[in-house]
């Protein structure tokens, strides 16, 4: 089964991985692979989105994702507006829909939304004319992160099909894991997830992955190990006794990495807690592709913006 790229995206929004077909995922990854070259040019800018306006509406702290979107927008010649919660009308009690309607009165073509509430971008998509791109909604989805992870894996392993990918860490609070499991399993990879029982949500298997409570079982023979950040700001109660104990049981150390395949890739969506979920010797080691993930993030976001700019909301036949 080699997935054939779809001719176009069906929706004018990117709300998650869940609504995408394998062909659409393939189209985004193929397009992103070509977008990578633009970063190596003397003039790192193409005119494809000239005259388009993008609002980056980030209502939750983010540095990497916001920067990555902004670089992608600028490389495509779009005009960008940045909006953050602190010091804005949001702090004065305005609702999300009111904020968005006010922004829409300025006629943006895209709204890139990061919001603490799952489903927030879906709600905006129902009331606004602009294309909505989900840049992370609570613990639900983070589609561009999963796409950049997939691109990074594909560039090293040629294909996603048949690979064994282990995702380890805080599964309870991670939107990255949801989008990644959906994408990787849809593209024919086997996904194993592992974490302490207190951080594994009930019904995790239903996303299409195998659940382990011991890290060693998940990473044995894996082609890729993806470590998730322990989101200390999202721990409403302590889900594990100490950071030290977490390190002892669930950190990716050089010893544990030996259980995986020799050419296993080490990934992390960032920001890393060195010495908590990942050992510095692994994070900076030869198998780490963590910084490539950041580079590929820009290419994937350029691809998504470019492809959505051609979307009408009408399904395209052929």
């Amino acid at each position: 089964m080699t997935v054939k790229a779809a001719p176009s995206l069906k929706s004018r929004h990117l709300l998650g991985i869940d609504p995408l077909s394998p062909g659409e995922i393939q189209l985004i990854l193929d397009t992103a692979e070509q977008m990578r070259e633009i970063a190596k040019r003397p003039i790192k800018k193409v005119p494809a989105l000239r005259g388009k306006t993008v609002v980056n509406l980030f209502l939750e702290p983010s540095t990497r994702t916001r920067f990555s979107f902004e670089v992608a927008e600028k490389r495509l010649s779009a005009d960008t507006l940045n909006f953050s919660a602190s010091g804005s009308s949001v702090e004065k009690g305005e609702t999300l829909v009111d904020t968005a309607r006010n922004l829409e009165a300025m006629e943006p073509d895209f709204i890139v939304l990061r919001h603490p509430q799952p489903g927030a971008p879906h709600m905006l998509a129902k009331v606004l004319q602009a294309s909505i791109i989900n840049a992370g909604d609570g613990t639900h989805e983070h589609p561009t992160q999963a796409l950049l992870d997939a691109l990074t894996i594909r560039l090293h392993k040629k294909t996603l099909e048949g690979l064994v990918v282990a995702i380890v860490g805080d599964l309870q609070h991670s939107r990255v894991v949801r989008s990644n499991v959906l994408l990787l399993s849809r593209m024919g990879a086997t996904v194993r997830v592992a974490g302490p029982p207190s951080l594994v949500p009930v019904g995790m298997e239903s996303l299409g992955c195998q659940v382990f409570y011991r890290m060693e079982e998940a990473i044995r023979g894996a082609d890729v190990v993806m470590m998730l950040r322990i989101q200390l700001e999202r721990q409403e109660r302590m889900n594990f006794p100490t950071v030290r104990e977490y390190y002892d049981l669930f950190a990716l150390t050089p010893e544990r990495l030996k259980l995986a395949k020799k050419d296993c890739l080490v990934m992390h969506p960032g920001p890393m807690n060195r010495g908590v979920e990942i050992d510095s010797r692994v994070a900076d080691g030869p198998q780490s592709v963590i910084l490539e993930q950041v580079t590929n993030g820009v290419a994937v976001r350029m691809a998504v913006l470019y492809l959505l700019a051609g979307g009408s909301g009408e399904p395209v036949t052929d």
């Binding site: 176009s8 070509q34 070259e37 003397p42 003039i43 470019y306 700019a309």
Partner: protein, 183 residues
């Protein structure tokens, strides 16, 4: 599907031979020659022309591939159809600054592709000169653009389509005219 053959395989290779000779006459410095094919069928044509020219000069010129999609004038707000063209690879093996670029495409029609290609190339540097070589010129220009080297002039109506098929990408070789109602 009814197609009318205008250039068969053997003729096509003779036409390319003649184009190669003409290219050499029209460039200021053959040592700086650099062939750049426009995706998709300009790329194999650029390779063939570079090979033929190399046989005459004794030193093979570099060959690059250029994708003009992101510079098209029908991408963005002017685009009528609601889908974006597929991106292909741009690969330039060395910088274009100061080089004698021979831009290669299969069919010259409205001239819009060439406008986009010139803008794309300029973002990569400042070539000494750019010459345009096309296999077929079918007329109907919409922009003030002309080719320096033309393989074959094929007068067409706008209702017709010119099909260039190359063994590298199509499994057959030749140039055909296809009429709208037969498509």
């Amino acid at each position: 599907m009814k197609r009318v053959l205008v250039l068969e395989a053997k003729e096509l290779s003779r036409v390319l031979e003649r184009m190669a000779a003409e290219i050499l006459e029209k460039v200021p410095d053959e040592k700086k020659l650099y062939f750049v094919g426009i995706q998709t069928r300009g790329v194999p044509l650029a390779h063939r022309l570079a090979h033929l020219v190399g046989q005459k000069t004794g030193s093979p010129a570099p060959v690059g591939a250029l994708d003009i999609t992101l510079y098209r004038d029908d991408v963005g707000p002017w685009r009528p159809a609601h889908r974006q063209p597929v991106l292909r690879a741009t690969q330039l093996p060395k910088p274009v600054d100061g080089q004698v670029i021979v831009l290669v495409d299969d069919v010259l029609y409205t001239g819009r592709t060439i406008r986009a290609a010139l803008d794309t190339l300029m973002d990569y540097g400042r070539p000494q000169v750019i010459r345009l070589a096309v296999l077929v010129d079918r007329g109907h220009r919409e922009l003030p653009i002309a080719a320096d080297v033309v393989g074959r002039l094929v007068p067409t109506s706008r209702l017709e389509d010119v099909q260039v098929r190359l063994s590298e990408c199509d499994g057959e070789e030749g140039v055909w005219i296809v009429k709208e109602e037969d498509r």
